[in-house]
């Protein structure tokens, strides 16, 4: 995992969330086991377990006893709305701070956004 400032289990949980949002892991399908996740990301299995438990607690994943972990129905929509709430804080805030530092007006930002979209 690449971000030194945040716990690995949070980063792994986010990675799995992003895969669900992007539709790489469909709802009602099985996700890799704890041991597979640990081996793949070269992390401690206890850390992988913590990430999966976090997602179970938040309702993104559910356990089928003796079989494994599955993506909950409705998880994709639920995660998108969760990430929408964070969007302003994570992306718009830093954007405005940097713009202010460089003296870029809001109007100029809008203009740049228009260019990106076209």
């Amino acid at each position: 995992m690449d971000d030194e400032s945040r716990p690995i289990f949070q980063q792994l949980a986010e990675r799995l969330e992003n895969e669900v949002i992007a539709g790489f892991i469909a709802e009602q399908t099985q996700v890799p086991s704890i041991n597979e996740l640990a081996a793949f990301h070269r992390i401690n299995p206890a850390t992988a377990l913590k990430a999966v438990n976090l997602l179970v607690d938040e309702g993104t994943l559910y356990k089928k006893r003796g079989i494994g972990m599955f993506v909950s129905p409705g998880a994709q929509v639920q995660l998108i709305s969760k990430h929408l709430k964070k969007f302003e804080f994570d992306f718009i805030g830093p954007l405005l701070t940097e713009a202010k530092k460089l003296g870029i007006s809001n109007a100029a930002i809008f203009q740049m956004l228009g260019k990106e979209n076209s």
Binding site: M1, E4, S5, I8, A38, R42, I43, N44, P45
Partner: protein, 297 residues
């Protein structure tokens, strides 16, 4: 969790040098512990004491509630892979495997032969004819395939190339996930193992200076960089681990920098970065010797 190793006020004095100096810590069942520290910090002595290969000067070691010294029931539970292990002359790789099979109760011969293939070790070659890295890999194979409840590796990979080391981490982790055990890994290559560790013990000049879960350590220290006058204003609210000046510019490693302090530092144009486990340990153990004199008494 069950405590399986309990060390209290453990001291080992060699003539004039206190290699282990009043060390206390506990190790719980099933976890990967990193024993980290500089050359000569006391790591190997500590592991020798735990595995009953050296006599303590003072203090207490309990493994499963017993003193490990000359205690076969305790020592049977332990595999200790040493740096630069020596083998009898004319011993071939397969003889080492056969000896290990006799010594370790949980020995898995199939796993051992898989590992030998992974590491491309010729079983008919004499140990003395192997390269440094190949000899180290034989130790790694014994350490993993013995599946001992307490598995201790002391700098196991002297001379092993990056491919072999990666293989070691992968195979250790896979087997650990299937069969949890207590692993103590002593190493200098902190960056390589940081993500594998549950817990970190840092030893410096014979003393434990850090004993903490790895997750708690992540993000506990930051590097802060910028004009000295601005950087040093933050020193009052946190612990300074390391500080370097160049002209009127300062770079410092500090611990416990609050989120609001990070925000205000960034706003003032200072550069704040998280510190890796390796950097954190370097900044905590790079000071000069302090206990040389005391040890002479």
């Amino acid at each position: 969790m069950t405590k399986i190793i309990e060390v209290q006020a453990l001291t080992k004095q060699y003539r004039g040098i206190r290699a282990v100096d009043g060390v206390s810590f506990t190790v719980e069942q099933d976890g990967i512990y990193g024993l980290l520290g500089r050359n000569g910090a006391g790591k190997t002595t500590l592991m020798q004491l735990i595995t009953g290969q050296a006599f303590k000067t003072a203090g207490k070691i309990d493994i499963y509630g017993e003193n490990p010294l000359e205690h076969s029931a305790v020592l049977e539970q332990i595999v200790f892979i040493r740096e630069s292990q020596r083998y009898p002359e004319n011993f071939k790789v397969r003889h080492v495997m056969r000896a290990a099979a006799l010594l370790y109760r949980n020995w898995d011969a199939n796993l051992a032969s898989d590992l030998l293939k992974d590491f491309r070790l010729p079983t008919d070659r004499q140990m003395g004819k192997l390269s440094r890295g190949q000899a180290s890999a034989v130790g790694v194979v014994v350490g993993i395939a013995s599946r001992a409840p307490i598995t201790i590796f002391d700098e196991p990979y002297l001379g092993m190339d990056a491919v072999a080391r990666t293989l070691f981490y992968d195979r250790l982790l896979t087997d650990y996930a299937e069969r949890p055990r207590t692993i103590i890994l002593s190493t200098h290559l902190i960056d390589e193992v940081a993500d594998l560790l549950d817990h970190v013990l840092v030893i410096d000049q014979g003393r434990i200076i850090l004993d903490s879960g790895t997750e708690e350590l992540r993000g506990s220290a930051s590097a802060i960089e910028g004009p000295s006058s601005l950087v040093k204003e933050f020193f009052t609210d946190c612990k300074v681990l390391e500080s370097q000046d160049i002209g009127s510019y300062t770079r410092a490693v500090v611990s416990n920098l609050s989120a609001s302090a990070v925000a205000s530092a960034t706003q003032q144009g200072l550069i704040v970065n998280p510190v890796s486990l390796q950097q954190l340990i370097v900044s905590q153990t790079s000071g000069e010797l302090t206990n040389e004199k005391e040890a002479a008494n």
